[in-house]
Symmetry: C2
Subunit: 341 residues, 2 copies
């Protein structure tokens, strides 16, 4: 076996190339960021192998997902990325190649999102691969879009399309199960007569593998949103969290919730998957409330090339959101959200 890097070599050859200036070449114990007239937004998210991603996912994708879920939080708060710190717990079977691929994916996104590596810690673990990232962002002029702050009458919006990642995960899990029960049905029946086109399947799998954080929407949120959060545990449950802290209610027209063509195709095959789409995790789209100038928000979103869709309205009756189906009947979900915990 190729000799593996020492810790110092690993830092110098794998991580230093993707570090920002404030990281001092990763040759110090901390990074220094200059004073700023902006507020500082901080968030942390940890990803565990076998829980938040699959151990055999491409290492670059794992790294990018770990960074992107944090970028998604910054975006929802209206913050611009400043940089991130990485705590990486590596199980004993790591290789130099795996680490280079991991760092390569990480560096690609660090560059694309202007969010350099500021520091980190690499440790050995007898357990599973665990990636903890803390992202720092700046809140221009102290602007911060809280989860709390929505009021009755505010329009409720989401970005992108909802449920793709949850459907992608369902496909992925079925693929795992199908190793034991091949040909027993489910969505992933390809190649023996798949009801879901390969293109749709790949799209949904890709949406689970690699979230698209809506970083470009941050300025529009700062300008127009009364409250916002990213959707990580399912639309239904996350909207419930938002209305609870804002002490409001909400009415959502489910027919308005934006679905991708692939999700529509999957749901047409198996209508029970609609609930999965509305309550499953890993969307990393943004849920926000807008007071007053909806047209202004929509124009600002268009300018940032992020699609937004109005799905409902905040109401004065504090309580769980009311979901209406196409016939205006109340739809009750068996569970509201996905929990890895």
């Amino acid at each position: 076996m190729e000799r593996r890097y020492t810790e110092d070599e690993l830092i110098a050859s794998v991580f230093a190339p993707i570090a920002g200036q404030a990281a001092l070449g990763l040759a110090d114990d901390a990074a220094l960021l200059p004073a700023s007239s902006d507020g500082l937004v901080v968030t942390t998210d940890a990803l565990v192998s076998g829980v938040h991603f699959f151990a055999d996912d491409p290492p670059g994708m794992i790294a990018r997902k770990a960074l992107r879920v944090n970028l998604s939080d910054l975006a929802a708060k209206g913050a611009e990325p400043l940089g991130f710190l990485l705590a990486l717990a590596l199980p004993s079977d790591w290789t130099n190649d795996w680490l280079h691929a991991f760092a390569s994916g990480l560096g690609e996104d660090a560059g694309a999102y202007h969010c350099p590596l500021l520091g980190g810690d690499t440790v050995a673990t007898p357990g599973t691969l665990t990636i903890s990232i803390t992202a720092l962002g700046r809140a221009p002029r102290g602007c911060f879009v809280a989860r709390r702050g929505a009021r009755a009458g505010d329009a409720i919006y989401v970005t992108g399309t909802i449920g793709d990642a949850a459907l992608g995960l369902a496909l992925r899990l079925e693929a795992v199960a199908s190793l034991k029960a091949r040909g027993q049905g489910g969505l992933d029946r390809e190649p023996s007569g798949s009801p879901l086109a390969k293109q749709a399947r790949d799209f949904l799998l890709g949406r689970y593998l690699l979230p698209q954080p809506r970083v470009a929407l941050a300025p529009a949120l700062r300008e127009h949103a009364s409250a916002a959060m990213d959707i990580s545990d399912g639309l239904a449950g996350d909207l419930t969290k938002l209305t609870r802290v804002s002490n409001i209610g909400a009415v959502v027209e489910l027919a308005r919730v934006p679905l991708s063509p692939a999700a529509r195709e999957a749901i047409a095959i198996d209508p029970t998957l609609f609930d999965v789409a509305m309550t499953g995790g890993d969307d990393y789209e943004i849920l926000c409330c807008v007071r007053g100038d909806s047209a202004g928000f929509e124009a600002a979103a268009r300018n940032s090339s992020i699609s937004v869709t109005k799905i409902g309205e905040a109401t004065a009756d504090a309580g769980p959101p009311v979901f209406l189906d196409a016939q205006k009947n109340i739809k009750v979900f068996n569970r509201l959200s996905f929990s890895h915990f």
Copy 2:
């Protein structure tokens, strides 16, 4: 079994009570810190069960150690704590009681060191308990004490006493081995005729269990130090890192390196333990260089009630530090530092 908290309950009842104001009650996805005219210092350290602590250590102690190793980094940079973020990967056997004890220890130190919890993420892991903490500090007027910056002629100082934690770990590991080989000797021969007094043993074990970050020294370091770092991987190896990035050499008189009475007692029993003390990890003392006004530095340290000891001097010949024994002979260590990795 008692019903365990849901993730929301866990945040509200365990962690929200120790959160700072900027954490927004831990009911948001990020924390907001106001703009400041100070620089921002950020550092991260991860601790893994079975690697950085023992799984059966008291949960409050595990939590405090995890925070303190980060506070130690801030202190070495001359930074004042602002707050921290916690990413906690919990294995499946966690209990509410364990978590309350963990948070209680964490809250105690968060209060004592004025370093409130700002945010976090709690996830399930099929692996081992992993605690990743990112600490934020402020660098008044942009002052930051880098690891790089020492020059020939600078005096080299350390805080506290060196090697206690490494000896404590040695005792602890021997205690584990002694479950299989009781009475086969080593330091921990108690109660069947211990050569190391219980008081000394307890002191060394305590120094491993709970570091004492030298937070109070930060102002003196800002004022007087040309370079500094905390000693986490052993004095010999960490001084080597400091001289390498500063492109200098160093001469250290080993007889000057401050040892606790307990460490002296242990080394008197087994002289080979001196090398363990000089090269073992987990001291979390501060190593720093001072140019010119050594008396001023010593007075400032005295005012902050932190003991400092001059152990040597930086030299112009770039290269590994030279360690001299009491007879001024060069002492060569078989290995320079401890690596968990």
